[in-house]
């Protein structure tokens, strides 16, 4: 009886192996995937900064240290559902914004960061490095 039981188990094992192999061979799953969740976060952030720079609004707002206005612009330009945190660093590497510039703090499963080099059209030709972290 014990031998017969063992044979049944081996039978069942082989049967399940055949079924599993057959199932897997019928599924043509791709071996690579593009992660849709992280795709575009950096691009979205960078495009937003470029748009604000092209409209000449971002540079003057930074010179004026008008962080509230910058937050409002980012809230409008960035897609809804994204969290962000913006840091402005001057030419000497010193942080310029004395308070967080964000929509309530950075959060999300995916977080990406971009850096944008900004020149301001003033007679002093201010140079800034803008670090924008975007999360979703």
């Amino acid at each position: 009886m014990t031998k017969r039981g063992a044979v049944h188990i081996i039978d069942a094992f082989l049967a399940s192996l055949v079924i599993a192999t057959a199932l897997l061979s019928t599924v043509q799953a791709p071996l690579s995937e593009i992660q849709p969740e992280t795709q575009g976060l950096s691009a979205t952030g960078y495009q937003t900064l470029l748009s604000l720079d092209e409209s000449d609004s971002l540079g003057q707002l930074i010179v004026d240290e008008n962080w509230g206005e910058i937050e409002q612009l980012l809230n409008i330009f960035l897609p809804t559902g994204l969290s962000y945190n913006l840091t402005v660093i001057d030419e000497n590497g010193k942080r310029v914004n004395d308070r967080p510039v964000s929509n309530g703090g950075l959060r999300g499963y995916n977080i990406e960061s971009v850096e944008y080099l900004l020149v301001v059209e003033t007679r002093f030709c201010h140079l800034y490095r803008i670090r924008l972290q975007v999360g979703r």
């Binding site: 039981g5 691009a43 020149v119 007679r123 030709c125 490095r129």
Partner: protein
Amino acid sequence: MKARKGQVLVVAALAIALTILSVQSFLYSLSKQRITPQNDYLSEYLLSINQGSKHTIAASLINISNSGVSTNLASNLARWTAFLVDDYQFGTPIITITLETSSPYSDGLRFEWGATGTGISSACSDFNLSLSGRDVEVNWDYSVNITSKVTCRGEYTDLGGTSKRFDLIVNVYNEEEPCLADYVILHYNKTTTWENPTNLMDYFVTDYGNGTYMYSFTDDIDKTQIPVRIQVVDLRGVYIRVEQTLVEN
């Protein structure tokens, strides 16, 4: 007893099948390549460098046209280049700058503030951006020309005796496109000194809102050729001056 053995066999078979499937699934997930795009904003990055070059040229022109030293153009571009070299988002960017030297430019600058009826403040430079990094190879030549221009046309009408009525039109351009002025200051040469007509009773200015400004005023001047001088600062802050000699229409 036999029925129970059969149940045990079925459960065992299911357990083995599930184990095999789990292992297969795990191995499959490990074998997957995760491709996260790295260069999905390369074009925007290049545009931002072009934008930064434009801003640097414009900022230098603002400075120099407002009594700054002419070497500020080269020094600001050197600052921009040094700032850019430290950025490694897509590889090492190397930017080569060649200031425009062919006439009418000198060291990238052109100021024509004479009595021709057209005033020009301009800065121009050629750039070569070379970017070399992982999966990125860029070699891009581009040119930046920032030009603020003011034109002045006018004449006077003899009202009898020495009384004359002056009418002149001022146009402001950025890169040959009409643009607004931050402010315009008009002077005319009555005797030997420059006079401000804003104190005259009938001084009148019309702002058409499209970069065209019309001025008219009346004064007693005992000359037939009357020089006028227009000083303009456009909205981006570039200073331009133009002079014109008005004659009777």
